[in-house]
Amino acid sequence: MIEIKNLTKIYKLNKKKMMELKTKETTKKAADNITLTAKPGEIYGLLGPNGAGKTTTLRCVATLLTPTEGSVSVCGYDTVKQSEKVRENLCFLTNEIKLDPHFSPKYLFQFFGKLHGLDDATIEARRKELFEYFEITAFENKRIEELSTGMKQKASIAVSLVHNPQVVIFDEPTNGLDIVTARNVTDLLLKLRDEGKLVIISTHIMSEAEKLCDRIGVIIDGKKVTEGTLSEILAETNGADLEDAFFRLYKEHHKEEK
């Protein structure tokens, strides 16, 4: 289970970033007082445009960032005070986080298994299960740098799941993937949900969210503007579909920067 309470994340901006963002502000509130709860056995989708604060929120959950205010707990462990315990219980996958290109999927699977404190037999059993599921066995000894994008993504997912985590976080899970690999990933997310895991995804692909997510939270300009099942959000916004609902919410809550 994940509990986010009043999460606020403020970045300090240096001159270069101020110029990039075309702002005179010296800070940027990437996440603004976000509160949400996600439970085992569900897929929770964080929906929002680029720069809305989805990735920042997920990075705070994954212990890569420290909240400026508020708190985050994963499986009852505080992400700041018990960060190692939190990392034992979750996996976080994003396009920016990659596998070392010098090694093979097999070596990296064993390496991360050991970092998670697993014994050789457990690692081997998990490897067989995941490598067969993702059809990695055929190229398990090839170096990551020799693999195609799809193969790399499959290997990354398999390696990140080595410790059978209770919480699985995917930031833009199908971004940049071909249709076959994307389908593999979405099938996996459903499988993990059915196994009783908590899956959190961030996406801006509405059809993906509609198809996969049991509950959806919409973030705009760092604030969670609504949360609920697809039907609840459609009812709240009078939207014809999720895309329509999202645009109505966006129009209502997005403030143009001056």
Partner: protein, 402 residues
């Protein structure tokens, strides 16, 4: 920590290209460069020896030909006689030939050279002269001048003095004799002492540079560092694992450099009188101790700089000025061989102190205090840097560019 340490080693030893570029290529390059230098130097020397210099001579004394035949100069050089009344254009042509390398030496004796020399009686009497025109930028020309002085002028001088005084001993007022009081180990190590610190310090730093930049900044750039940060391992364990792994690899790399240098140096410097240099067991232990502390220091400072960088390119930009400082510190001791002994406290300055200590090892003069200070200075800095690196690994702004 053990797993990360092993992974760092595996990263190199599982990759043939890495093994080649880190351990084999430096050896090939070093041995190749030094042997090429040696070959070129030998070739240059033998080329000069084999070259028959072209020497123009004007106003030759009557017995010049006999003397040249007696000393063998007429065989060693091609002598071309220039008429006493040669025109200015002819003389200019000879000088142009020397400038262009077509001739090597132009010797002009004063007219009536021998007569003037033999007629000398009292102070104020005319003293005959010889003018040697040569091109100091040409090896052949410089060698031709030296040979002419040795085979002709020195012999002339001796003969004329013999004629003037009858007994050459009259020119000897007293004799002097040098007695050398030296430490033979130090004497043998002097040349080595001047060069060894520079080479070791430069090699150890160069050996660690690429590895550390890639292992920290490279991993950040590729996104593989974040993968490791997401594992339930303490950041300090990641730092220790990386630092130990990199230290072992850097040490191995520097051993390759050192062995290559030992093999290659005699090829280039055989003729420079370095002679046989051997280290005692104590000297080897001292050298190893200093080198281990230096490797740790280098790895830490390189990792510290790399942690701040977002990518390898940025890290290289940070590392380059430090590399230059390291080279200068290594070179500082090069010019202090046999000079005033530095203060003992200077041995505690990282890198510079190690450079002084290596120099003292080579000349067999290192005291226990100096050894201890040089190692302690490095290790103290290593401890401080490890703490700072660990703190930086926990800093999201540095590690996640947040």
């Amino acid at each position: 920590m053990k797993n990360i340490f092993k992974k760092e080693l595996m990263r190199v030893f599982s990759d043939k290209k890495m093994i080649f570029s880190l351990f084999i290529l430096p050896a090939i390059v070093m041995i190749g460069v030094y042997s090429l230098m040696g070959t070129m130097m030998n070739k240059m020397e033998s080329d000069i020896e084999e070259h028959v210099s072209v020497t123009y001579v004007q106003n030759v004394p009557e017995d010049f030909k006999a003397l040249a035949a007696q000393t063998g100069y007429d065989v060693a050089a091609e002598i071309k006689y220039v008429a006493a009344d040669a025109s200015a254009e002819e003389v200019e042509q000879i000088k142009d030939d020397i400038l262009n390398g077509d001739a090597d030496l132009f010797v002009v004796f004063d007219k009536e050279f021998l007569a003037k020399a033999e007629a000398y009686q009292n102070a104020g009497d005319p003293i005959p002269g010889v003018k040697l025109a040569y091109n100091s930028t040409m090896n052949y020309s410089s060698a031709a001048k030296s040979m002419f002085e040795a085979m002709v002028l020195d012999v002339y001088e001796t003969n004329l003095l013999q004629n003037r005084f009858g007994n050459m001993d009259l020119l000897t007022v007293f004799t002097s004799e040098d007695e050398l009081i030296i430490n033979e180990d130090k004497a043998n190590g002097l040349m080595l002492a001047s060069m060894l610190p520079y080479f070791i310090i430069m090699m150890l730093f160069a050996g660690a540079m690429g590895l550390c930049v890639d292992a920290i900044a490279g991993e950040k750039e590729r996104g593989t560092m974040a993968t490791m940060l997401l594992s339930p391992v303490k950041r300090s364990s990641i730092v220790f694992g990386k630092l130990f792994g990199l230290s072992v690899l850097s040490a191995l790399s520097s051993v390759v450099y050192a062995v290559s240098m030992i093999i290659a140096m005699p090829m280039a410097m055989g003729g420079l009188g370095m002679g046989e240099i051997s280290f005692s067991v104590l000297q080897i232990v001292e050298l190893l101790g200093i080198m281990v502390s230096l490797v740790l220091f280098n790895v830490c400072i390189l990792c510290l700089l790399s942690v701040f960088a977002k990518n390898s390119k940025e890290a290289s930009a940070y590392v380059t000025p430090v590399y230059m400082v390291v080279i200068v510190l290594g070179m500082l001791t090069m010019f202090n061989v046999g000079g005033t002994a530095p203060a003992t406290s200077s041995y505690a300055i990282p890198i510079y102190g190690s450079s002084l200590a290596i120099q003292a090892v080579a000349s067999n003069e290192l005291t226990l205090a100096q050894f201890g200070l040089s190692v302690a200075g490095n290790i103290l800095c290593v401890l401080v840097m490890v703490v700072v690196i660990t703190k930086l690994f926990n800093n999201e702004k540095v590690m996640m560019n947040a």
